[in-house]
């Protein structure tokens, strides 16, 4: 007997899927802002060799980049309470995403900072720019402009990776999908629609970040 596809039971739950997708986008937005902030901090410490922070960030970057996101999430959510650090599902999810993105963006942004010639900073100093001005206009913005495409890709990778947060019962898109398929027993159809939603979200985030980059980062350095 051939299997008959039936997507109607999935679309009946559109509201649930959309609220899950919204949750995933919200997690990604918070994770991206804080994660890139952490990345900028790490990149400056690494690029300018600020002891002892450059070493600490070096260890942090290697530890995160060489372990799976799922294990980092489990360690934070199940492991840290043993040390008295307790948090809710969404807090653990955000923390894991920030820590994960922070490590990758440290390396990405560091490459951007190191690509700025030293002479430009000296030139800015000779123009009597203050240190915060130099940092903002001569160091950070050109660095971000150079690596913006790589940062965009990394944010999308983190958004897609957040699917595993369903495992600690964070109520994001995959959690909603798991719930729906446990009700309607249409696993293939449910996950197919969910996958399509993730794909659309990846396209959306890419467009959004390209636009933001053009407007606030890349456009202004030219």
């Amino acid at each position: 007997m051939a299997y008959r596809f039936d997507f109607a039971p999935v679309f009946e739950q559109t509201g649930l899927l959309l609220s899950g997708a919204g949750f995933t986008l919200a997690l990604t937005a918070v994770g991206a802002v804080l994660g890139i902030g952490l990345g900028v901090t790490g990149a400056v410490c690494r690029a300018w060799k600020l002891r002892p922070f450059d070493r600490l960030f070096g260890v942090y970057v290697e530890a995160i980049r060489n372990t799976p996101f799922l294990v980092q999430l489990f360690f934070i959510f199940f492991g840290l309470p043993a040390l008295g650090v307790r948090m809710s599902e969404w807090q653990a999810a955000v923390l894991a995403m920030v820590i994960n993105l922070g490590a990758y963006s440290t390396e990405i942004i560091r490459a951007g900072i190191q690509a700025t010639p030293r002479g430009q900073i000296e030139a800015a100093e000779s123009l009597a720019l203050t240190r915060p001005q130099i940092f903002r206009h001569v160091v950070l913005r050109p660095a971000l402009a150079k690596v913006w495409p790589a940062l965009t890709s990394q944010v999308i990778i983190v958004m897609l990776g957040s699917a595993v947060c369903s495992q600690i019962a964070t109520e994001e898109l995959t959690f909603a999908a798991n719930f729906i398929q446990s009700r309607n027993f249409r696993a293939f159809e449910t996950y197919f629609v969910t996958t399509a939603l993730y794909f659309a979200m990846a396209l959306l985030i890419r467009q959004l970040l390209v636009q933001l980059g053009q407007r606030y980062v890349v456009g202004r350095t030219r």
Partner: protein, 217 residues
């Protein structure tokens, strides 16, 4: 029956499970490499349809979560009447995932070969397969080694996601041990250390290869 776990018992069980992580990584990497090579040839072929189809293949795998890919393979294969074990679904899903990424990495390497090389070999009356075999691929291969080794780290980390479809590798075994021993901090710390032991040497190797080829160029 209540079983008491000593720290050594935990480590022994994790090492045992680590073998499955290693086996799955190797299978996904080797099979993914073979499929990826086929995708690569279609991607750079002089045929619009093949190009568009493989471009879509790559974008779909790079634009969706690995977990969803595994779910779709797991539930999709059972729809066509194949009795899927978590092991088969994990290997098949990760192979497809790996093939898409490797094909895209290698496409970049082929395109990094200067255009003059194509033109020069064309003037020597080499056919397309001959150009590929003797001129383009040997040079692309040189550029491809470092990023390919670098990507193997992603494959090893990707195997952790297969724990969710029930494949008893390192992470799944870690979860079960954490539940049995009530020592999640220790267990997940050890699990993380296990992945680190697998991935860090690969990362270092990729970095040293990168340096070596940069100097040579």
């Amino acid at each position: 029956m209540l079983v008491q776990f000593s720290t050594w018992d935990i480590v022994r069980n994790l090492l045992d499970a680590g073998k499955w992580t290693l086996a799955l990584s190797l299978i996904a990497f080797v099979l993914g490499g073979i499929v990826g090579l086929a995708i690569l040839f279609a991607r750079i072929a002089d045929n619009r349809v093949l190009q568009a189809a493989t471009k879509a293949y790559i974008e779909i795998f790079q634009g969706t979560p690995l977990l969803m890919q595994l779910f779709i393979v797991f539930f999709g294969l059972s729809l066509v009447g194949i009795d899927v074990s978590p092991w088969l679904a994990a290997a098949a899903g990760l192979t497809l995932f790996t093939s898409a990424y490797l094909a895209e990495i290698w496409r970049g390497c082929v395109e990094a070969v200067p255009k003059g090389q194509w033109e020069a070999s064309a003037t020597l009356a080499l056919t397309y397969p001959q150009q590929m075999r003797h001129v383009i691929l040997p040079q692309a291969l040189r550029i491809a080694i470092a990023p390919t080794v670098g990507f193997s780290v992603q494959v090893v980390k990707g195997t952790a996601v297969t724990s969710i479809i029930g494949f008893a590798e390192l992470t799944k075994t870690g979860s079960m041990l954490a539940n049995a021993t009530f020592e999640p901090f220790l267990v997940f710390g050890l699990v993380a250390a296990g992945y680190f032991a697998l991935c860090y040497p690969l990362s270092l190797y990729a970095k040293s290869l990168e340096r070596k080829f940069h100097v040579a160029r």
